[in-house]
Symmetry: C2
Amino acid sequence: MKNAVIITIGDEILSGNTVDTNSNFIATELKNIGIKVVQIFTVSDEVEVIKNTLKSAFELADLVITTGGLGPTRDDKTKKALADFFDDEIALDEVTFEHLKAYMEKRGRTEILERNREQAFVPTKCTVFQNHYGTAPCMMMPNGNKLSFSLPGVPYEVKPLIKNQIIPYLKQKFSLEYIVARIVSVVGIPESILADRIENWELQLPDNMALSYLPIGTRVKLKLTASGENEQFLQIQLEDQIQKLFPIIGDHIIAAKEDKIEKILAEILSDKKMTISTAESCTGGELAKMLTSNPGSSQFFTGGIVTYATEMKIKTLNVSESMIERFTVVSEEVAREMSEGCQKLFQTDIALSTTGVAGPGKGEDGKEVGTVYYSIRVKNHSHTFKLFLPHLERQDFTYFVSQKIIQDLVGILIEK
Amino acid sequence: MKNAVIITIGDEILSGNTVDTNSNFIATELKNIGIKVVQIFTVSDEVEVIKNTLKSAFELADLVITTGGLGPTRDDKTKKALADFFDDEIALDEVTFEHLKAYMEKRGRTEILERNREQAFVPTKCTVFQNHYGTAPCMMMPNGNKLSFSLPGVPYEVKPLIKNQIIPYLKQKFSLEYIVARIVSVVGIPESILADRIENWELQLPDNMALSYLPIGTRVKLKLTASGENEQFLQIQLEDQIQKLFPIIGDHIIAAKEDKIEKILAEILSDKKMTISTAESCTGGELAKMLTSNPGSSQFFTGGIVTYATEMKIKTLNVSESMIERFTVVSEEVAREMSEGCQKLFQTDIALSTTGVAGPGKGEDGKEVGTVYYSIRVKNHSHTFKLFLPHLERQDFTYFVSQKIIQDLVGILIEK
């Protein structure tokens, strides 16, 4: 198997200003063609640091991918570091300059600044992969039998460069081993007990397979990876091993194909031809967003409503005022009425509702921060639950709650 | 200024399964107390690799923070690497074991497995910071004048450990230089032209200040950082420099205090005592989620609706069927009617709407993937816009569109 190292360049990552999502994307794409990322370096925009990191990276891997530090501004240093490291010069590349001019003209920019022109200067030994969504070209440098690619840092530019240009190039250049993975989703069992139960199964796995545990909320994802030359054989091998898991922990397995809980749900809803809608308070749209995050969701997701104001719960979802007075707006009763009102409004088989206090301020009715009631209504039955998550920050709270609701719904639908 | 290195340990990050958000959080928290993260290493769960990385890290910085690899499962190796690196032994720590037992009992787990007990084994030279939200303790190891902290990898556990325990400890232990930053948000000017315009301003900045460019969508965030011993002086110094920017690019500045566009909007809405609601189609809840992502949003956000199904647009938002027939559901006209209906439904000063094709499949009416119309209705005026973003993946698409709408609304409200 080929190894790769990713170098993320940019003070904005080190200072905590920007979350690096490029590495994750690149690692996933490389893995799919059998290239393993063995290390990621995140370093500052300094020529010496970048050069030293390139050296370390080539010691660890055959393929080095850098992102960032190619912008037209003073704080971007990658190109200088590349030229120094490869003992090369930087010169204007006419083809790249023409591409750049066309790119800018298409966007109504006819005046090309010196600063823009500089972006068409590249190391003379490099092969340019033109960037169709930005002004910084991607540069490939040979290093003996090894290779480096330097990309800009903007995710919108990185994704098409990797997917449409670099991956096809690498696929063709190397004949690569396949890596295939399957995820088994396990619920209702703590990680440590799970690990104990499947220990013997894990020990008998063939040498080309590896297991890892990925806990997410109250679900544990068991990731089983196999590598080898024949993709179809690997698929069969994985399926065999997963089948062996069912007699051991089958009661706790909610999915063995899809990874994301919203995709697991999407598959079930499509199978059962059921529709769904949401009525949210404290999750503020996160639940709807999660349900619509994958293509094809319009087949089952009819609509959702975020009723932040109490009067909107009454007006649009028909929650009764007396219920709110008696139990407060953050209560099991209101959650249930919200899901009922939601089901009626959107005319769906399933309706989900949330009401709670995301914090950090207390709710109007004095309920503790981190309290949430949610209701899952399937046909004529409501299932209402409470969670108390005072330790989660606002964003994590809405995410955790939304994940958990979808997970519980999956459990209800497959009767586990 | 003190330097730090973060080591993220875990094959799940390298394989692209999990996005590392811990490093971002830790970097931000450290920066706030004047500790600069100079490098981040993301490495695999292998004892030798972790040891080598600890060595490199201590060569670069006084403070090393590791996350991950402390779980109760076979693939976690951090503790072994720590003991080896520091030439130490691992032994049961009674206090930690008592804490662990209490933690588990509180959660109804009375049976303590050998695997759980192992979590209370730590290097003998370490100081334990107890983990109140998980079973893996945080371990601090001295290394001459330097320090390392090893934390678990679960973000819910990392955040409170860092915020409530490690940061206060570091603050007390070192008397640290302050680093203060301000973000100036600039719109309507490309990064390269902006850089040209403010070049002279940038060159005259004092030595203790640094500028960086953070493009996000069609906005450029100028981040100005100052370091020194007197926090108040730094604040004044930053304000002075920012004031000097206004005569140069004031027309393009939409905010000079808050960083996130939704926070910039929140401040304006609070000032103007205006309320807002949303009616979404292709953004699927992202816009509502963004508006409610900060505390206090219930003061201005009344509610939102996601009308995925066309009939819901008609039923709840009163979009006219003839309009849909004439112009299709993805049109300027429907966007405008949605915002009008939304304003009526939620009785708000402002209403935002989106209708488009997030893809990857084409819309029912044959509109191209990446097409979106959105309408911003403020009091009695509707402003309707079109975007065409065929190169964005579904998740990036909804995010980009939502950002842009809020940015445009800010522009309208402050009349820029």
